[in-house]
């Protein structure tokens, strides 16, 4: 099954936490102050994080998901 998910390009992530704060599902966390990590199980691919990211380093991609989560 194909679903839309947020994907973080870690090379430009500044770990500012804007995405984490704006995510309506609480799916994003900042890993040890280094970069943001998306919880694929919670992400619904709404794209809010991609829109607010100041470094423009989050993109929404379609990915193949095995289970129906």
């Amino acid at each position: 099954m194909v679903k839309r998910k947020a994907k973080v390009d870690v090379s430009h992530c500044v770990a500012c936490g804007v995405c984490q704060k704006q995510c309506p599902r609480g799916a994003i966390s900042i890993f040890r102050g280094c970069y943001s990590v998306v919880d694929m199980a919670k992400c619904v691919g709404c794209g809010i994080c991609a829109k607010v990211c100041p470094a423009d380093t989050i993109s929404i991609e379609t990915v193949e998901v095995s289970n129906d989560k």
């Binding site: 500012c16 890993f31 102050g33 280094c34 607010v52 423009d56």
Partner: protein, 205 residues
């Protein structure tokens, strides 16, 4: 808010905490410094606290939750809709620019400390002015009429206030032109704390 299929997504209301109002601190800081430059010293909190959090906790809790400046840009840009919300040039968040800007910033900070030292040693006298963008002198004489402290204390205040105001103005400009918190992508404090966190995370592995 819409996603690319233009389906309206309602954002659930998150419970507000006191930490969501820290943009008021940013405004208070500049207001206090307008009336008395000695208050500029309070800005050191914004300098030292993120470093302490990064060094001891190994995260960017300050940037993520406590940064009044980031919240101010968000408030003005998003809530008051002053931001164009356009993608910023990619180089602003590239490592060479971020670390270059950090180096420039630290050099200017060192220069400011040296200017303070000149007043401390009596080589230079106190001038009641702030310097914007490291170039433009703005008279600021109403903010200081002598105090129980020696002149160098005030000199540091003028220098530090200049630094804080200049960086906020740069942040405001990129907020207007690009996204709300574009400043965060090259903020020297953010670069420094992230650098520390990366070192700490590497050591943990």
């Amino acid at each position: 808010m819409t996603n690319s299929n233009n389906v309206k997504i309602k954002k659930p209301k998150r419970k507000k905490s006191w930490m969501d109002y820290l943009y008021i601190w940013s405004i208070i800081y500049f207001a206090l410094g307008f009336f008395n430059i000695l208050f500029a010293w309070l800005g050191l909190i914004d300098f030292i606290l993120p470093l302490i959090v990064a060094i001891f906790a190994g995260n960017k809790y300050f940037c993520n939750n406590l940064c009044g400046r980031g919240q101010l840009f968000w408030f003005l840009g998003n809530k008051l809709k002053l931001s164009r919300k356009k993608k910023a040039p990619k180089f602003l968040s590239s490592n060479w620019f971020r670390y270059g800007f950090l180096a420039f910033f630290l050099t200017m900070f060192a220069n400011m400390v040296f200017q303070t030292y000149l007043v401390f040693s009596g080589t230079d006298s106190l001038r009641k002015a702030i310097k914007l963008f490291w170039t433009f002198k703005v008279p600021w004489k109403w903010a200081y009429n002598g105090s129980i402290f020696p002149d160098w204390v005030a000199k540091f205040g003028f220098g530090f206030y200049s630094l804080m105001l200049t960086s906020t103005l740069i942040g405001l400009i990129v907020m207007l032109l690009f996204k709300e918190r574009t400043w965060c992508s090259f903020c020297p404090m953010g670069t420094m704390t992230q650098g520390i966190c990366k070192l700490k995370a590497k050591r943990k592995e």
